[in-house]
């Protein structure tokens, strides 16, 4: 609990900004939904034949899962506020239209006739009788819409539109419970608060309700202003993955090493490449061997001050397995140094972008480097298990190892490519569920070993020193050995579009920092 408060204190300014953005997102979309939904509700209350069609349409929109709705909107509206606001608007629409309709049609026909009878015009009947009497019902709709929007607005962080979802998503990506709570608790409190306030308003009667409704209507654009106020114009817009934003070897590391000051938008790591490609952001965080670097003509900015630790890929194997199959290490080490950065990037590109199968890509590569052998026929009695995390590069490595080992030895290799994260992969190895896995030195260091700050400071952030440190620690503590590095370093990195980077003369992160502070 103390950790949580410490986190909140430390990030209070960010938290306030996110909360205001969140409120803004909620109310901009709510305002739009009111402006469209109430008149639409009035129209269908007048022309009942339209009612079922319009209510059904709004109902269908409501049933689309929010993530899917964002997914549909991204190709149309890109990332950022656009899709988030449209999605929120669509969700708020149904309760508002429906309750306006139900509220107005629920007014007794006798009263409408009485209103007509005393000489009110249609418009006066609407404004003096129907709307005031429908107001509690309409407010119930607004209340529902507001609570839905506060919840759905957390997803805005998925498309770089900000809000409290930023901490929630980052927290999930980092398994950082305090961070998750720092986003989730204020979001829940906002929902409860707005629900309570609107409930109070709804329970007012007569004139006070009308005064309250007016006050609410006047307040809505004001609350929306939190979002609509133009922010400081940034020279370059950064879009970072949530994990990168929070991990100490990510953005915080860059801030410390380079004094880099950005106001990054947080975005899902798979949408990030799309976003820079569409010029919606100018800088993204990424992985240096990602195939899309090539596909979208991006450049990796040189980390000239080594803010990012090395992430050399190597295979981690149980010592017990190595002892049992003495030729296994030799066989797997055949790959050592063969997979350079550019080779791995190209392999990722073939699978990610050209949609080739991992089997073909792996076999072609093995043939090129002369390591391919057709597996010897005959039954294989001995089996080893390889585990991997869930992304393209690891799938390719699994296929490479399987074909290599089965070609060179009499072992059968079973691949388990569904281990959803560093920790899970590591636990599988330690408990013997798997025999070996690809891992990256920096990740092993920071995610698995998590040495004290002092140890980290004393450790030179060079590929070799990190590799030696990690290997020695794994062997002593976990009886796991690191084989020779495969040759590539799948590092965190900053990327820009090549043509923009060249135009601005930015080659390294230092250049970027200098450009931004000019």
């Amino acid at each position: 609990m103390n950790d949580f408060f410490a986190f909140v204190r430390e990030h209070s300014s960010k938290l306030i900004e996110q909360t205001l953005t969140h409120i803004g997102l909620t109310f901009v979309s709510l305002l739009a939904a009111l402006l469209i939904g109430v008149p639409l509700g009035i129209v269908i209350a007048r022309r009942r034949r339209l009612a079922s069609g319009i209510l059904a349409l709004a109902g269908v929109l409501q049933t689309i899962p929010s993530v899917a709705l964002l997914g549909f909107l991204i190709p149309l509206l890109g990332i950022g506020a656009g899709p988030a606001l449209v999605a929120l608007f669509l969700y708020a629409l149904l309760p508002i239209i429906r309750n306006t309709y139900v509220g107005i049609t629920g007014v007794s026909p006798l009263l409408k006739e009485a209103a007509q009878g005393v000489g009110m015009t249609d418009r006066q009947i609407l404004t003096k009788v129907e709307l005031p009497l429908a107001l509690p019902v309409i407010f119930a709709g607004i209340r529902t819409a507001t609570v839905i929007n506060v919840g759905v607005a957390t997803l805005a962080a998925y498309v770089a539109a900000g809000g409290l979802g930023e901490f929630i998503f980052s927290g999930i990506a980092l398994s950082n419970v305090n961070m998750m709570l720092a986003g989730a608790i204020p979001a829940a409190l906002l929902a409860v608060l707005f629900d309570f306030l609107l409930a109070q308003l709804q329970q007012l009667s007569g004139k006070r309700l009308r005064v309250g409704a007016l006050a609410f209507l006047l307040l809505t654009p004001f609350l929306s202003a939190f979002y609509l106020l133009p922010g400081r114009e940034d020279k370059l817009i950064a879009g970072f993955a949530h994990e990168f934003y929070g991990r100490s070897d990510g953005y915080p590391g860059l801030q410390k090493t380079y004094g880099l000051l950005l106001r990054p938008r947080l975005i899902d790591q798979n949408l990030m490449y799309e976003a820079i490609h569409r010029k919606q952001v100018d800088i993204i965080s990424g992985y240096s061997t990602d195939g899309r670097i090539k596909a979208y003509d991006l450049v990796v900015l040189d980390d000239n001050r080594h803010a990012f630790p090395p992430y050399d890929a190597a295979l981690v194997v149980r010592q017990a397995t190595l002892n049992r199959y003495v030729d296994l290490a030799t066989t797997l080490n055949l790959l050592a140094g063969k997979l350079t950065d550019s080779v791995m990037t190209a392999l990722n590109y073939q699978v990610d972008y050209q949609k080739k199968s991992t089997e073909d890509v792996a076999q072609n590569f093995l043939k090129q480097v002369g390591l391919y052998k057709r597996p010897a026929p005959g039954e294989r009695t001995e089996t080893i298990v390889m585990g991997t995390k869930v992304f393209t590069e690891q799938y390719i490595l699994a296929e490479l190892c399987r074909q290599l080992v089965e070609g060179q030895t009499a072992l059968r290799v079973v691949t388990r490519t569904g281990l959803g994260g560093t920790q899970i992969c590591f636990d599988a190895l330690r408990t013997g569920s798997t025999d070996f896995s690809p891992e990256y030195t920096g990740t092993g260091l920071l995610v698995v070993l998590q040495p004290s700050a002092d140890t980290l400071r004393a450790l030179p952030m060079q590929p070799d020193s990190v590799y030696q440190f990690v290997r020695q620690q794994y062997v002593t503590n976990y009886k796991l050995d690191w084989l020779k590095p495969l040759g590539f370093n799948n590092s965190y990195c900053l990327m820009m579009r090549r043509e923009q980077a060249q135009k601005l003369g930015i080659r390294s992160i230092d250049d970027l920092t200098r450009f931004l502070s000019k």
């Binding site: 006798l110 009263l111 005393v118 015009t121 003096k128 005031p132």
Partner: protein, 244 residues
């Protein structure tokens, strides 16, 4: 004052009002009496154009009602319906001020007239800020009448105004209300199916059946010289038949 000639209203499946003609004199209380579905309410609502006639015409002081917009026409006629037809979100004061506001009276005029009506209708001023749900049935009916009379309309239309009251209160309230000077000077067209009410209040009764006027005349005349068996039966049948 009100001349109705050859008034007909056809709905899709039936003729509700069939060539009705009648004249209503200034200051007179005319009761449209008849069973449910006889066309009496339809006739009433055509006078203030809540329903538009299929054919025929209605003139008030010689002017065809269709020459003026419905809302304006209706503002010059009081309209009282069952249970007062009060808006639940209007306090008593607001209810009485409804029509004066629509026609643009000043607030002093409105306050003055409200006080006057409250006194005349024997409503305590403590009720002014109450809402209809906080009033008794009889009080609601009086407020409904006060709303209708607020701007001194020359004509007041009433559609089963006492229908929601129990028999005792009904007798009490209607005696009291129809004893008002204000109403004596006003032309009243009242729709009811209650024979006693008609006999008690009407200067003349128009007895309707199947969209036509069967007989029209002062209550005594209908009682003593019924034009048809239907008239006799309808007036004799005490307590009158339930809705048919």
């Amino acid at each position: 004052m009100i001349e109705i000639s050859n008034l007909t209203k056809r709905f899709q499946t039936h003729t509700a009002v069939d060539h009705v003609s009648l004249n209503i004199n200034k200051g007179e209380t005319l009761v449209l009496l008849g069973t449910s579905g006889c066309g009496k309410t339809t006739t009433l609502k055509m006078i203030n154009r809540l329903i538009e006639p299929t054919s025929g015409e209605i003139r008030i002081d010689g002017i065809d009602v269709r020459q003026q917009p419905g809302p304006e026409l209706r503002r010059r006629m009081g309209y009282v319906i069952q249970d007062g037809g009060l808006f639940p979100h209007y306090s008593v004061a607001e209810a009485i001020a409804t029509v004066p506001r629509l026609v643009g009276w000043t607030s002093e005029q409105i306050v003055h007239r409200t006080q006057e009506l409250m006194t005349k209708l024997q409503l305590p001023t403590t009720l002014l800020n109450r809402y209809p749900s906080e009033l008794s049935g009889g009080q609601r009916q009086r407020v409904g009448l006060a709303r209708a009379l607020a701007t001194h309309p020359p004509v007041v239309l009433m559609d089963e105004p006492f229908g929601a009251l129990d028999p005792f209160t009904r007798r009490h309230v209607r005696r009291e209300l129809f004893g008002l000077n204000e109403l004596k000077e006003t032309t009243v067209v009242l729709v009811t199916h209650d024979v006693n009410e008609a006999l008690e209040l009407a200067d003349r009764i128009a007895l309707m059946d199947k969209g036509r006027i069967v007989q029209i005349g002062p209550p005594d005349e209908l009682l003593t010289h019924p034009a048809t068996d239907f008239v006799r039966e309808f007036l004799d049948d005490k307590p009158h038949r339930p809705h048919e």
